[in-house]
């Protein structure tokens, strides 16, 4: 099927849990986990007669996020009740913001294939999170009962709604990655997608290229990773195109992403649930946000990912690609900063971070903040490499061992006898042996084939189990084959 004739239109709704100590309308803790129903009180349980009071920090954080995303901060904002029956909400309504959200009309610049694109942000509003349901059966519809834990109920959320400005799954992924970086840099959310503190719903439709009328969209839920977002969108594009190709019409509906099967499925609709009957929350008073308040917060804004990226390029001469990856995560950028503070070769550090360290972290499903190798340890290893104590090849082995055991490079090198062999006498025997065993390569080299030297060096490295000093071996080989 040819999907190139369709234009793809994607908009994202992102929910970020805020890193406050307490919930949005009461003093219960926001700590993740905890025994079920132990982080609750009459306010977040919605018992009769209680009065919610807004957490000031939530407003501060919303303003921070709004400024970081170039939004206008509303002068007047209020809360509304979004009514629906679902047992994850003890009150049968969610306290949210409807027509007067705190932030409006922002944008975020993303980078895809070297091109910068501006994605509009329609609005950001504050609301409370819902509780957690555990279903008795395998799925919600096959369950006879469900269990409810209200610990998460009332945890403050920002809902960040984008314009339908993205034109490919890759752009959507880049937007979510960049948005996550901004929320991490400003420290308003810890953005742990596995723990659900950053969640994403996607609206997607297709239309014939050149058309200006959007097709019917579907909303996809349960996108818990960047990869899930991208895969779900790729699947949904094909599905919608297939419906259209077969002469059908796409139905406006909510679908869920099944990560194991790699497909989207229609969610059984909560009947007529989209009739939310919003009305102003009478228990909460409106917010009037003075320009002083906004200015005060503006002064505390930290360096944002884009600025930091530009600084890494300018200050350390990093390629744009490297700078983009390093600053894509605040923790990684901080790690990089600690390294370059004590070791000047920025590009070498960037190579190790993007290569071996990232690979090992991914394989071990670890975050950079849990890395067993500290910046100091990485730098110590690089210094051993610079001194010629270990070879580049051995360095990789040492690095893996460091990651595995948390030991320092020097200790591992000593324990395993990995010191590079740099004395001619010890190398001579191996060089001779390799020359003797590979007459064809020697002949090739003498006939002017430069490539042959690489092969011969490789043979000596193999013989020395990676410990020979490759530079020295190269010189010795050339000397002997003259």
């Amino acid at each position: 099927m040819n999907i190139d004739k369709y234009e793809i239109v994607i908009g994202l709704e992102v929910h970020a849990e805020l890193k406050t100590n307490t919930k949005i309308f009461c003093n219960c803790t926001t700590k993740f986990g905890g025994e079920p129903n132990t982080h609750v009180c009459p306010v977040c349980l919605g018992l009769p007669g209680v009065l919610p009071v807004l957490n000031k920090k939530v407003v501060d954080f919303a303003i921070i996020a709004g400024l970081a995303l170039d939004c206008e901060i509303a002068e007047y904002s209020k809360f509304d009740r979004k009514n629906y029956y679902y047992p994850d909400l003890p009150k049968n309504f969610q306290t949210s913001q409807y027509d007067l959200p705190i932030c409006l009309n922002g944008y975020l610049d993303i980078n895809v294939d070297g091109e910068t694109k501006r994605i509009g942000i329609t609005r950001i509003h504050m609301e409370e999170d819902a509780g957690k349901l555990v279903h008795g059966g395998e799925t919600i519809s096959s369950s006879d009962f469900s269990l409810v834990d209200y610990n998460r109920t009332g945890v403050p959320l920002l809902e960040i709604v984008s314009e339908p400005d993205m034109r490919s799954p890759l752009e959507a992924r880049a937007y979510l990655e960049q948005l996550k970086a901004v929320l991490e840099y400003t420290e308003v959310s810890d953005c742990k997608m596995q723990e659900g503190s950053l969640r994403c719903d996607a609206n997607i439709s297709i239309m014939p290229k050149g058309s200006s009328v959007f097709g019917t969209r579907t909303e996809i839920k349960n996108l818990n990773s960047f990869r899930a977002l991208q895969r779900a969108l790729e699947y949904e594009i094909l599905r919608q195109a297939e419906v259209v190709e077969e002469g059908g019409t796409v139905i406006q509906e909510t679908r869920t992403w099944d990560d194991a099967k790699g497909i989207t499925l229609p969610l059984r609709s909560k009947e007529e649930a989209h009739d939310y009957r919003y009305f102003p929350e009478p228990d909460l008073l409106p917010l009037v946000i003075s320009r002083d308040w906004v200015e005060r917060i503006k002064k505390t804004l930290p360096e944002l990912p884009q600025a930091r990226k530009e600084r890494l390029i300018k200050e350390y001469g990093l390629p744009e690609y490297d700078a983009g990856i390093i600053t894509g995560s605040k923790a990684l950028a901080d790690y990089f900063a600690s390294c370059v503070n004590i070791y000047p070769e920025a590009k070498t550090i960037s190579n190790w971070l993007m290569g071996d360290l990232t690979r090992l972290l991914n394989a071990g499903e670890k975050e950079i903040t849990d890395s067993p190798i500290t910046p100091e340890m990485l730098v110590e290893m690089l210094q051993l490499l610079d001194k010629g104590t270990i070879s580049g090849k051995i360095a990789k082995t040492v690095f893996e061992e460091m990651f595995e055991t948390g030991k320092r490079a020097e200790e591992i090198v000593k324990e395993k006898g990995l010191v590079q062999i740099s004395d001619q006498a010890s190398l001579e025997k191996m060089v001779d042996e390799v020359i003797g065993a590979n007459p064809k390569s020697v002949e090739d080299y003498r006939a002017g084939k430069e490539k042959a030297i690489g092969f011969l060096v490789g043979q000596v490295m193999k013989l020395s189990k990676g410990k020979a000093n490759p530079g020295l071996v190269n010189t010795m080989l050339r000397e002997k084959m003259k």
Partner: protein, 94 residues
């Protein structure tokens, strides 16, 4: 804009209320009386009057982000008709 029995059925469903035919008719009539009065209010010229969300001249009632102890779980669950493993047990959702 008159309210029909169908509207009442819709709202009753959203509110999870089971109404008898007699009640449906009664509420249709009552809601129409109420909305009829709204029609009367519409006669006023409200151009230039911002919508009122709150009538009190108070704003920015905020609290500091300081943790306080939550409720004892026994108390939390004491009114639950059914419970299991420290959680509320609710009937089939969809």
């Amino acid at each position: 804009m008159a309210i029909s029995v169908k509207d009442v059925e819709h709202v009753a469903l959203l509110a999870r209320l089971e109404l008898s035919d007699e009640e449906k008719n009664m509420y249709t009539e009552q809601l129409n009386t109420i909305l009829g009065y709204m029609e009367k209010l519409k006669e006023l010229d409200t151009a230039g009057v911002p919508p009122t969300a709150h009538v009190l001249p108070i704003h920015n009632v905020l609290r500091e982000d300081v943790e306080r102890p939550s409720m004892d779980r026994e108390k939390v669950l004491q009114n639950a008709p059914y419970r299991e493993d420290g959680q509320f047990r609710v009937p089939k959702i969809v």
